[in-house]
Assembly symmetry: C2
Homo-oligomer: 355 residues x 2
């Protein structure tokens, strides 16, 4: 059976002041009515029902996860006692899945991306699932055709076609510099690595055991505790001792039997406030606004106000204004990375309560 | 004796969202620890004590006035049931003053201006009081030497000197256009009319009676009610029937015995947020900030945040950010008048609660 595994352990700061330590990006409702984690769940409904949905998140985010996804069985909200990157996260998910369904296929996806065309996504995933069903040794991932020379994503270089829109993977490439990214964009044989994977749970655990035997040996000690009252204590003891490493480094870059599908679905990693201008349709003056907002003589602004609070813009251009009850950001548009400077400056005894 | 009359009936919107219908500019603390009305009171202490201080304000602002100026006798906080411009306001003040002190001299000043050099102000006023003591028919006003071609002030053209820094007034000039303002600035014989006056209470009431007999006839009907329980009802009945006209139009422009002193004191009418950049000293990047504010890579901004709220600026230049619990303004600097467009746009059933 096909199970979805939503990776929801992220703790970004790019959406400050809307996102906080206690409310990371995946729990934000940036556009529409549903949070990003809810949208991640929704896009698999009714195709992968809640009973086959798994969420891996931080222990401190478990309550929030339950509130956002009340249908997902509590035993399938896996709580990491400490962040250890994606390899331990997915190893843990595979272990738990296999206890329930020894032939489980996993659709892995981050909780905090936006995929607008659900039908296209489903079609693409179904093709990947077919490939894995017929070739259970395959580890499948999706590559997004680049639309600009992004320097913030890892790239996948494809090799020859293996049919049905899939390719062998020639190489994984780290986040490139600008010139290299331009080259990747022009070449037409590079994809963005969007972190969406399809594989057999058994296969990924075996691959992990091959490349990171210590990690899987420790994970295996958890197996007798699955579904037992001792689970929480065992997880708390073992998980923090696991090596912090991504699934890309731990497995994908070391394996030969990887296949990449060119994603036909529109994908947005929602990397920062600039993304909101893509997600929230702009008014005639190019302003993307959410909440009670007044714009006068203003253009190309991203503005967000809370309930019962009005944000009024007068004569502004190309700026971001985000109002929350205890913090307001006013920033020039164009550099999502720059928010880190604000986060840094907030690390003072007086101001860190606003983080 | 010398009495001060603080005109505190203003209801401006230039400081939205800090100023509101229920909290006009004179009650704002824009710099330092004291509100503008408190500063107006303070600058006469201990020289004109609270017992000789009078405030004329709107009835709906009486409680606020009492809170800001707890030392002023309640009977000397004159409550206008309706706004009728400065002639009825000062006629009423003169009437009440005379009942207490038939030889009273009035120092009239707006509640919402800033005068930094209190000693210079006192010296100037003392000269004006001497002139009036020696020439009780004189109506004295202060002219501020213009420092730029302001189009937002009325001007006073001086004529020949009458000694001690005072001049006859040749003419009053309405708010000029830019070219005319440039001419006024160059000529050296024009002053800004700052609305600060010194005269005998008896004399101003006589002048008002001469030029606006109907107004004074109605005011005189209030005289028997002064200090009586019937005062409030009588004022409520009579005051709204008075002609709405400024003291400038009603008296000053029609009189010959006007004298203008060149003000030696620094004067700021605090006409809008731009004024705050003059009142609040800027940091090394030219940012004038009040409250918990963080500025990164930002220059020449005016920023104000409330308690327990941080405003973070990133990459901004020449903007105004004012945060209050229910409304935030983000505006380009340089045009204090433009705020009217926001006030206009807030006149909707959903948004007018923020006015």
């Amino acid at each position: 059976m096909l199970h979805s595994v939503i990776m929801a352990g992220g703790s970004g700061t790019r959406f400050w002041p809307l996102s906080r330590k206690s409310l990371p990006k995946q729990f934000l409702t940036l556009a529409g009515e549903r949070s990003l984690i809810q949208q991640s769940f929704d896009r698999c409904q009714p195709w992968i029902p809640a009973e086959r949905t798994w969420v891996v998140t931080g222990k401190h985010l478990a309550d929030l996860t339950r509130q956002h996804l009340p249908g997902v069985p509590d035993s399938q909200i896996l709580q990491e006692p400490a962040a250890r990157n994606t390899a331990p996260c997915l190893g843990l998910a595979a272990l738990c899945l296999l206890a329930l369904d020894p032939d489980a296929t996993m659709l892995v996806m981050p909780a905090d991306h936006v995929i607008d065309d659900v039908a296209a996504f489903r079609d693409d995933v179904q093709k990947a699932v077919s490939l894995v069903d017929n070739n259970p040794e395959r580890l499948v991932l999706f590559g997004v055709p680049p639309t600009y020379p992004a320097t913030g994503f890892g790239y996948i270089e494809r090799s020859e076609s293996i049919g049905q829109g899939a390719f062998e993977v020639k190489a994984f490439r780290e986040k490139p510099d600008r010139d290299t990214a331009e080259h990747y964009l022009r070449s037409g044989t590079f994809f963005w690595n969007c972190g969406i994977f399809v594989w057999k749970a058994k296969r990924i655990l075996e691959a992990l055991a091959q490349h990171e035997p210590e990690m899987v040996a420790r994970l295996e000690t958890l197996r007798p505790h699955i579904g037992m009252p001792s689970w929480g204590d065992a997880l708390n003891e073992i998980f923090p001792t696991l090596k912090s490493i991504s699934i890309d480094y731990a497995v994908l870059e070391r394996e030969q039997k990887i296949a990449v599908f060119e994603a036909r679905f529109p994908w947005d990693d929602v990397g920062g406030w600039e993304a909101v201008a893509r997600l929230v349709s702009a008014d005639a003056n190019g302003n993307s606004v959410v909440g009670p907002v007044l714009t006068v003589d203003s253009r190309n602004c991203i503005v967000r106000s809370g309930d019962n609070h009005v944000v009024a813009l007068l004569g502004m251009e190309n700026c971001i204004v985000v109002q929350t009850p205890d913090a307001t950001l006013v920033a020039r548009r164009g550099d999502d990375e720059a928010i880190r400077q604000i986060i840094q400056a907030l690390q003072t005894p007086e101001l860190n309560k606003h983080l």
